[in-house]
């Protein structure tokens, strides 16, 4: 080889390396996702540390349905949060986790979480979705995922490596798994029920007289806690399903909000779930003890158990609803079902995945 030819090779070798890296550096920015606030909804308050992008949401969606996120590679988020059930599982207490052991809490629905500003989990033990995800991801009876292994497993999939780059311009990390899942979950907005069409005077929004009577009853009797268009105050209440909170097993699990605040006034309080899609999210309560809406209304009507922290909005003797009132309330609650949401292909398992 002549000196000149070596110089030429060296030059091109160097040029190749420079150019391949500069291509990485001019990689396109993630596309900002413009969050549409439904006309009848309040403005959400977004966490500025995790701006939503189309790439971030799409990555989060892939991760949500990917069993690689569990120790035995058999459990995904969707194992307990199925889109057709408004991201619940129809189970009282799921055994779908890695250990096969029944969980101690009922899987909550996942929608309209962009408005959640007062804690996640039934007791509010997590401030935001970005922190919340590490709970189910690592919990022994849920996904039991080793976070180091997770990064290795995702790095072994070229499509994930590039998806993380595209969404965050960073490599795979457990923090970015959390951010992507949070973005996907915030994108899940349910605001297309018959009730919404009624509120916005749209076609198909005419409520029957029974549904209207049910709406009036819900406004009078339920919306103290299931407030506003989100049908939740994002607060914590003791709704009288129990009166004895002395069981401190499982790190105070049965004490409700108290295990987070250690304030005696919070004994037996649990998060108010939204009434939206409630016809799809049976069974009910933090432990899934009521199998039907009828059972729930029977409780509120005549089975409230008084205790020191019972919510003041709820009479100790119950709401004393007539059979007709219960029927009308349930008819109205069905108008909160949003099939456009549960059937939205953008929320379902990605194709070819």
């Amino acid at each position: 080889m002549t000196m000149a030819s070596i110089r030429t090779i060296a030059f091109w070798a160097a040029a190749l390396l420079f150019s391949s890296c500069s291509q990485q550096q001019v990689e396109s920015e993630p596309e900002v996702y413009s969050f549409q606030v439904p006309a009848n909804f309040p403005q959400p308050v977004f966490d500025t540390h995790n701006p939503m992008s189309h790439q971030g949401i799409e990555l989060g969606r892939k991760l949500f349905y990917d069993v690689r996120l569990s120790a035995n590679n058999k459990v995904s988020c969707a194992s307990c949060h199925q889109p057709q059930l408004a991201f619940t599982d129809g189970m009282q207490l799921s055994k779908a986790g890695v250990s096969g052991t029944a969980l101690l809490r009922h899987a909550p629905a996942i929608f309209n979480l962009a408005w959640v500003n007062n804690g996640l989990f039934w007791d509010g033990g997590s401030t935001n979705l970005e922190s919340q995800v590490f709970g189910p991801l690592t919990a022994h009876d849920e996904m039991a995922q080793n976070l180091y292994e997770l990064v290795d497993e995702l790095n072994a999939v070229p499509a994930f490596v590039s998806a993380f780059q595209n969404a965050f311009q960073e490599p795979v990390s457990s923090q970015n798994v959390a951010k992507a899942l949070a973005q996907f979950q915030r994108s899940l907005v349910s605001a297309g029920s018959k009730y919404d069409r009624y509120r916005l005077n749209q076609t198909g929004g005419a409520l029957t007289s029974d549904e209207l009577a049910g709406l009036m009853l819900v406004r009078q009797k339920c919306q103290g806690c299931h407030t506003g268009e989100l049908f939740t105050d994002q607060g914590y209440h003791n709704n009288g399903i129990d009166a004895d909170f002395s069981n401190t097993e499982h790190e105070g699990l049965y004490t409700g909000r108290y295990r987070i605040s250690y304030d005696l006034a919070d004994l037996g309080k649990f998060k108010t779930p939204s009434l939206r899609n409630v016809a799809l999210t049976a069974p009910y309560m933090h432990d899934g003890r009521f199998t039907s809406l009828e059972d729930v209304l029977d409780h509120y009507s005549a089975a409230v158990k008084p205790s020191a922290t019972l919510d003041a909005r709820l009479p100790a003797s119950g709401l004393n609803l007539s059979a007709q009132e219960k029927k009308q309330i349930i008819l109205f609650l069905h108008t909160l079902t949003d099939l456009g949401f549960t059937q939205n292909p953008d929320h379902h398992k990605p194709q070819n995945f």
Partner: protein
């Protein structure tokens, strides 16, 4: 001739693929570096693991001491504050720790002793006060997906399971306590935003950053338990909110005092 080729390739490799411009200037030792040492003690003795310390009729034997130091601020003689960027440090003295079941079914965190941190790029000046937090401020404590400094959920100084808030443990100290024939394991853990406290230490004489190497502060671990009978309260955590608050306040106001200028 081959050397020439190798050099060209090596040069290409080194100069490409960097995300920032840091490696374009090779800086030797930054003149603005200062050290901050928190020398753990038991009264006048040096703190050590697996060693008996007789204190007020009890014998304490420690197996871990861990805490986050964050948001270090230097105040100069004119009152101007210099905030050390991304300053989140884990200080610790630990034997091998079993962290199984935290982010991983089986995991051992290796023994470590770390009392000194290096504060970089300190502007030249005369400094009279050093301030820092014990724990993690609410911005990061509330969001485990944010990264800065040494913060991580992978070292056992966080609560990511169901037990508490999904947040960081601010401090964790434990071992065994003996009184007469009684012997108990004890741990004192702190956390939660309300318990993030700032330590402020006035230096006896201002320190010039260009001539001084830094500061040594003394952390008296016994003062962490000031006002608390460890034998009677061997498990301090979120379930014992008033005691957790006392321990947090003790770290910030009683346990840490000025020691010396670093030599």
């Amino acid at each position: 001739m081959k050397r020439f080729l190798t050099f060209a390739l090596a040069a290409a490799l080194f100069s490409s693929c960097s995300d920032d411009d840091d490696n374009q200037i090779v800086t030797p030792v930054t003149p603005g570096e200062m050290s901050l040492t928190l020398d753990a003690r038991i009264g006048n003795e040096d703190f050590a693991l697996n060693k008996d310390f007789a204190v007020a009729g009890q014998t304490l034997n420690f197996n871990k001491l861990r805490y986050w130091v964050s948001n270090v601020v230097l105040v100069d003689t004119k009152g101007a504050e210099y905030k050390v960027p991304d300053s989140y440090f884990l200080m610790e003295e630990v034997s091998d720790l079993d962290l199984s079941g935290t982010i991983n079914d089986k995991m051992t965190y290796p023994a470590n002793k770390r009392e000194t941190i290096t504060l970089k790029n300190i502007p030249a000046g005369e400094y009279k006060t050093i301030k820092f937090g014990i724990g993690v401020d609410s911005k990061y404590n509330d969001n485990l997906s944010l990264r800065t400094g040494e913060l991580t959920i992978a070292n056992g100084m966080s609560n990511i399971a169901w037990m508490w808030h999904s947040s960081y443990l601010f401090t964790s100290v434990g071992g065994t306590v003996k009184k007469g024939a009684d012997s108990k394991a004890f741990t004192a853990e702190t956390g939660l935003n309300a318990n993030y406290k700032t330590v402020s230490i006035d230096l006896p004489t201002p320190v010039n950053s260009s001539t001084s190497k830094g500061f040594v502060l003394n952390l008296d671990v016994i003062k962490v338990f000031d006002g608390i009978d460890v034998m009677a309260n061997p498990a301090i955590n979120a379930m014992t909110a008033p005691l957790m608050s006392t321990v947090s306040t003790n770290y910030a106001t009683k346990a840490i005092i000025f020691g010396s200028e670093a030599k």
